[in-house]
């Protein structure tokens, strides 16, 4: 009985599959004829709930349809490379400058000479050859327990290696790209030797093994396991929103020196884009004053466009001097940073 049902279902499945394959998407770029709506295709490592509201608004404004898939950066990049000129993707959105730099390095992005983008996005937040543009900025800064730490005691990232912090520091794993970018920019400024000493000092001061997420780190801090850490601002914002009473606060380090480490999420146009003009128009819109506020606010980030003010909540964390080293350094030195952290036994 069962196998008979199974057989019928199987035949059904095969027929359906065959149908699904054959009637699959007529190439959108083909029909240039009557009233064709433009369709822009996006590969995104930024999550759906952070980009879809933007796309919906753009579609409502312009009538341009946007389709997308989301995945991690590594697989998306591998897919773009493998697809070559047959790729349907027009735009790649990813998080972290290191990943954007890799995309350029692999030759999957094209140069975009757009006066609008050049005007909207500051030089240190985009590729030197204009293959990608930062769209939002996050700071990776020090967070401390307001119950057990006097902010007067805090000064720099490097100072967290000092004696008073022994057994009081929590860190997220070195496998997360945000820490790799932080260390990479430190290598860029301080040199490899000095940076390794700093990282080893952090490891020596750890209260417990590194956690897998910034949120877990902050929860452990609130529970009393440790007193200081280094986190991305939006994780702090998210946690504060859930629990305003949380006894944690942000501190902006290195204000007398290079400034706070920042990173970007950003986008570029693919080399083999089928709709390059429409994709550039979308990118220009995303960098515009009209879109930047919302794009940043969705994830409690800072707009990349300096003409746009951050949301009230983000602004309430205070102003700071940001490290203006070009974020590309994060990509160039990422491998060196990973190796350095492995040598320092930062897990």
């Amino acid at each position: 009985m069962i196998y008979r049902v199974g057989k019928i279902l199987l035949v059904g499945a095969v027929v359906w599959l065959a149908a699904a394959c054959s009637d699959k998407r007529s190439p959108p770029e083909g029909d240039t004829g009557q009233a064709a709506t433009t369709l822009v295709t996006v590969y995104s490592a930024r999550k759906e709930h952070l980009i879809k509201p933007m796309f919906d608004r753009y579609t409502a404004n312009t009538g341009v349809e946007i389709r997308y898939i989301t995945d991690k950066e590594g697989p998306l990049l591998a897919r773009l490379e493998a697809e070559g000129e047959t790729t349907p993707a027009d735009m790649l959105i990813t998080v972290d400058a290191g990943n954007l730099w890799q995309a350029t390095e692999r030759g999957v992005l094209r140069q975009v000479d757009s006066p609008a983008l050049a005007a909207n996005i500051p030089q240190h937040l985009r590729a030197a050859d204009n293959t990608w543009f930062g769209l939002s900025v996050r700071a990776r800064t020090i967070v401390y327990s307001t119950e057990r730490v006097d902010p007067q005691q805090l000064s720099t990232y490097e100072d967290l290696t000092a004696e008073p912090w022994r057994g009081r520091l929590c860190l997220r794993t070195s496998k997360k790209v945000y820490n790799q970018s932080l260390v990479a920019t430190m290598i860029n400024t301080l040199g490899e030797e000095a940076t390794e000493a700093v990282v080893a000092g952090w490891v020596a001061n750890l209260a417990t093994d590194p956690y897998s997420s910034d949120t877990k780190v902050m929860e452990a801090m609130a529970a009393g396991q440790c007193d200081v850490s280094i986190v991305n601002t939006y994780y702090f914002g998210r946690l504060k929103k859930e629990n305003p009473q949380l006894p944690l606060a942000l501190f902006w380090p290195n204000q007398d020196g290079r400034g706070v480490h920042i990173n970007v999420s950003g986008a570029g146009i693919t080399k083999h884009a089928k709709q390059p003009a429409a994709a550039v128009a979308l990118l220009e819109w995303l960098s515009s004053a009209e879109a930047q506020g919302k794009f940043a606010e969705l994830n409690q980030e800072y707009p990349a466009n300096p003409a746009v003010a951050p949301s009230a909540e983000v602004a309430s964390w205070g102003e700071f001097k940001a490290d203006d080293v070009n974020v590309e350094a994060a990509g160039r030195l990422q491998a060196a940073a990973v190796k350095l952290m492995d040598r320092a036994q930062y897990r």
Binding site: G6, K24, T215, A223
Partner: protein, 552 residues
């Protein structure tokens, strides 16, 4: 059609000689092996270029620690899934005790919860900031010692709670099929209940137990989700570090191929150790259960219940709390479509994979081979690779076919180059088949090994062809194994993440994709809704499967 086959005069000689078309029946196994070898060869080809820099770095800084961690994990999980899986299967399949009817299916449910979800729930409950430790410190002081859930013990516990159902399901099907005949014979010959269990029931169920344990261990070796939530470094950590840290996909593929080699060798060694002895089941339909009454019954009942509570009820309650806390954010109009697609993909993958598994396993038997041949072993390798690595291997292979085969054809027809395979539903289902073939073939083969070859010989003597034998004799006898295979593939496909992410057509988001979107930036509370839906979706198939396997 089949009537003519019956009317044909039967030649006794034909039954004893190798069955007709014996060689042809080896074809399914080799076709399947070829399909799996497409992505695997992409990965093995990575050895074409030396990646000495990455290798030197890994060996110098961490490889020995990673291998040690992996060994502890595999040993711990291996022992625990066998202990839990076999004992629970024995109780529910052969005994009668209070609550057995619902425990029978409830014990399978942990399978439906993705490993990384259990890991996160465990970290949330048992971590430093979790309720258990907070209470602990409240009672015993701020410095009271508590084991860190992120250590080896915690990881083994998390993996075991999710993976024991593989052993449980397969062993249960085996024990159900055994009936009580041989056990009673052993008891009559003077063996005690324990020695009868160890010397009769257990060896008979060995293929099933081994198949289940192998699945659990392969999943554990290839896992990246749970170990990264708990920040426990294993061999896969090195693979992902090479890929995402050094952006060196080739070094990652080289490491992954070593993992493959290890699994292949381990499976081969087990096969050799098992020897060629075969025990075939008694086709007994009547089963009398061992009645466990009084404190024995209650004890067994408490044991089974506590496993269900720890491995299923607690994680699900935590998910429910999160759904409630986030007020089910994300429950929008697209949710129905999300569920439908998840189920469609899972269902088609399950049916196709199991159908192929039956053909392959049956083909093996008909072509006169005992045990598992090289082709089947090759075909099962898809499960031993970390999901993302296999997904990329499949993508590269499909992209190559698109480029080298399909597009030249399209050029001939004067069509513009386009992607046909990559990003199609067919390719995605094919990817599931490649990944989960060994999940399906394990239960099918374990079931097949218990069926006496006499049936087949008798049927051939009566003039029935291979197809007819397969349909009329094997499939009904195999039903418990088949249902197990269908369910395993269905549930595994529904929670599969890397291949779905990379190969899905535009708009084909599933529940697992939604879970990924939310968890990858740490929004676990919001991910509770799709995760819980995924779990709920798996319950009806589990219940149906258990009912059916009893009825047959």
């Amino acid at each position: 059609m089949t009537d003519t086959a019956l009317k044909r005069p039967a030649l006794p000689a034909a039954a004893l000689a190798p069955p007709p078309n014996g060689r042809l029946w080896r074809l399914p196994a080799w076709l399947m092996a070829g399909l799996v070898l497409l992505p695997v060869s992409v990965i093995v080809l990575s050895w074409g270029s030396a990646q000495t820099e990455v290798w030197q770095h890994l060996i110098a800084t961490q490889l020995s620690r990673l291998l040690g961690n992996t060994l502890i994990l595999v040993l711990g999980v291996g022992v625990w899934v066998m202990v839990l899986g076999v004992s629970l299967a024995w109780f529910t399949a052969t005994c009668e005790f209070p609550g057995r009817r619902w425990l029978d299916w409830a014990l399978m449910l942990p399978l439906a919860i993705p490993t990384y979800v259990v890991a996160f729930v465990a970290l949330g409950l048992l971590g430093y900031s979790g309720p258990v430790q907070t209470l602990w410190r409240h009672w015993f002081g701020a410095d009271a010692w508590f084991p860190d859930i992120r250590g080896a013990g915690g990881v083994v516990m998390v993996m075991t709670t999710v993976l024991y159902p593989y052993v449980y399901m397969l062993a249960r099907a085996a024990f159900l099929a055994q009936g009580r005949g041989l056990m009673d014979a052993s008891r009559l010959l003077g063996n005690g209940p324990w020695s009868s269990f160890l010397r009769v029931a257990l060896p008979m169920a060995r293929p099933a137990i081994v198949a289940g344990t192998a699945l659990a261990l392969m999943e554990c070796l290839a896992d990246f989700g749970a170990v990264s939530v708990l920040n426990y470094d294993t061999f896969t950590t090195a693979i992902y570090k090479s890929w995402f840290g050094f952006f060196n996909l080739q070094a990652a593929a080289q490491l992954a191929s070593l993992l493959l080699l290890f699994v292949f060798a381990a499976l081969y060694a087990e096969q050799r150790a098992r020897g060629s002895g075969r025990i075939h089941q008694q086709p007994r339909r009547t089963r009398t259960a061992y009645q466990l009454t009084g404190w024995r019954g209650l004890l067994v009942s408490a044991y089974c219940t506590s496993v269900v509570v720890l491995a299923f009820v607690v994680p699900v309650l935590q998910l429910l709390v999160w759904v409630f806390e986030t007020r089910a954010t994300g429950l929008d109009s697209r949710y129905g479509a999300l569920i439908l697609r998840t189920f469609t993909l899972g269902g088609s993958a399950a049916l196709i994979t199991v159908a192929i598994a039956v053909l392959v396993a049956y083909g093996q038997r008909v072509s006169g081979r005992l045990g598992i041949s090289t082709s089947v072993r090759l075909a099962g390798l898809g499960y031993a690779l970390p999901g993302s690595v296999l997904a990329v291997g499949i993508l590269l292979a499909f992209a190559y076919i698109d480029r080298q085969l399909i597009n030249p054809l399209r050029l001939l027809l004067e069509l513009p180059p386009a992607q046909i395979l990559v990003g199609s539903v067919a390719a995605l289902v094919l990817a599931y088949v490649i990944r989960f073939f060994s999940v399906a073939v394990g239960p099918v083969q374990a079931g097949l090994e218990r069926i006496k070859p006499h049936f087949q010989e008798a049927a051939h003597t009566l003039g029935a062809g291979q197809w007819r034998v397969l349909r009329r004799i094997y499939l009904p006898l195999l039903a418990p194994g088949l249902l197990t295979a269908l369910l395993l593939v269905l549930v595994d496909t529904m929670k599969e993440m890397p291949a779905t992410l990379l190969l899905r057509p535009f708009g084909w988001d599933t529940l697992a994709v939604r879970v990924f979107e939310l968890t990858s930036e740490g929004e676990w509370q919001r991910a509770a809704l799709p995760a819980l839906t995924l779990v709920l979706l798996s319950i009806p198939p589990v219940v149906i499967m258990v009912r059916r396997s009893r009825a047959v």
